[in-house]
């Protein structure tokens, strides 16, 4: 279910220090989300496309990952232009498209698609293991990093447990429907997942104690030194700064 296929590549982005990528992803995403001007947003869109290209990800996998947001965008285009008040732009029978409505939709579309492309290019191209390490070096609290890595580690285990439980139910003639029996069955399956998760947590905690864990998290640090790191960092910062300033001046 969870695949880290995008992390397998070997592009320029893949070779950058994960910390640099995390910082850039944060900076660009927030700057982008706070922009309003179409000109600036257009430039961000191009910027995001360039990042995706630099990560050498095929159009197919990227589009697949954008599917949820594209569906969302489609939905707002169907609703917002007609419900938003303001200067009418176009009449379609009884419906009126308004200019502010269309502008709002356009803005949301560019922002959401660009932010997700930045996310895909910079963050989805590393494994969660690497991401955790990067967050650790960026001084995110140890407990939170540990929580992230441990949660990630056991998702696959629990997912498999769920698949097997569901399969067992189906083999015994369970056909889900809209009825109490089905909801109760799903509740039992979910309940069983939590019970097993809790029992497993006890065992894992014991296993950690046996390996000398005493409350401090240590990890293998492996910073990737790469000539490109400072270059990329500077480049992205400069570009973002320019776009932020343009945005501010535009007003």
């Amino acid at each position: 279910m969870i695949s880290e296929a995008l992390a397998q590549g070997d592009s320029m982005i893949h070779r950058l220090d994960p910390c640099v990528r995390v910082v850039c992803a944060f900076g660009v995403s927030f700057a982008l989300a706070l922009s309003e001007q179409f000109g600036v947003l257009g430039l961000y869109l191009v910027f995001a496309l360039v990042l995706v290209a630099l990560a050498s990800l095929g159009a197919g996998p990227v589009l697949k990952r954008l599917k949820p947001v594209l569906l969302f965008v489609l939905m707002i285009w169907v609703i917002l232009p007609f419900t938003h008040e303001g200067e009418p732009l176009l009449r379609l029978g009884p419906l009126t498209m308004t200019r502010p409505g269309v502008e709002l939709c356009l803005r949301i579309t560019i922002k959401s698609v660009s932010i997700l492309m930045v996310f895909i290019a910079l963050l989805a191209t590393m494994t969660v293991a690497t991401l955790g390490q990067a967050l650790h070096r960026l001084r995110v609290p140890d407990k939170l990093v540990f929580l992230l890595l441990m949660t990630y580690r056991y998702i696959a285990v629990i997912q498999e447990e769920y698949q097997r439980l569901l399969r067992a139910a189906r083999f015994r003639g369970f056909v889900p429907g809209t009825n109490l029996h089905s909801y109760r069955t799903y509740a039992y399956l979910a309940g069983m997942l939590f019970v097993r998760a809790s029992l497993r947590a006890q065992r894992v905690h014991n296993a950690m104690l046996c390996r000398g864990f005493n409350g401090t998290f240590r990890s293998l640090d492996s910073p990737l030194s790469n000539r490109l790191n400072p270059v990329f960092m500077t480049g992205v910062s400069a570009l973002t700064l320019v776009l932020v300033v343009t945005e501010l001046l535009w007003k």
């Binding site: 067992a168 139910a169 056909v175």
Partner: protein, 241 residues
Amino acid sequence: MTNPIIKLENISFAYPGATEKILDSLSLEVYHGDRIGMMAPNGSGKTTLFHTIMGLCRPDSGTIEIFGSPVSTEQEFQAVRSRIGLMFQDADDQLFCPTVVDDVAFGPLNLGLSADEARDRAREVLATLGIADLENAITHRLSGGQKRLVALASVLAMEPSVLLLDEPTAGLDNGVKEKLVKILNHLDISYVVISHEFNFLTAITDRVFSMESGKILSDDEVRIHQHEHMHKLGNHPHKHV
């Protein structure tokens, strides 16, 4: 000669995304009264084979006939699934209701029995297996051996025509194993059993198959395989068994 209960013909299957075929033009026939053992290395596709019979893995090519009629769509599989009792490799995966009787009655309820009928059926099966006293026990607190027996009960409560048992003895001690041997030898039902234990298999089956490169191997090859294995262990100092 009667028709086979389960008939696989030239089944090929690869997991989506994987290139390697786990099942490769495999054919298998199970007749009424057959008691077949299956012993093959980890990852050779035994569990996949069972899942294919149950319609959980859809073959890329080949045909499956169950009780004489071809099955290929989800509807068709749903109709026959409850007549094949699959017992999972790990009993924990199979027991998800709070108490033993709830769990054993789950299948019959899905078959459309009333709550009372389902409970009666569950009690009956538990009694047959000699674990009537577990009726109100909490499933996840049972011991490993008890879980296995309850899992078997919950499969038998569906009154299947054939059993598929996936490593019913893994991690069980000899006491529970012997109990299983007795139970299986007394049940009047056809079955296919996967196990890594030759002694157990020979005690409960008439023939032992193996699997290699996605195909079923017949009895003889298995026998040769076993001799070889025992020879290897013979190099180490070990007690006479």
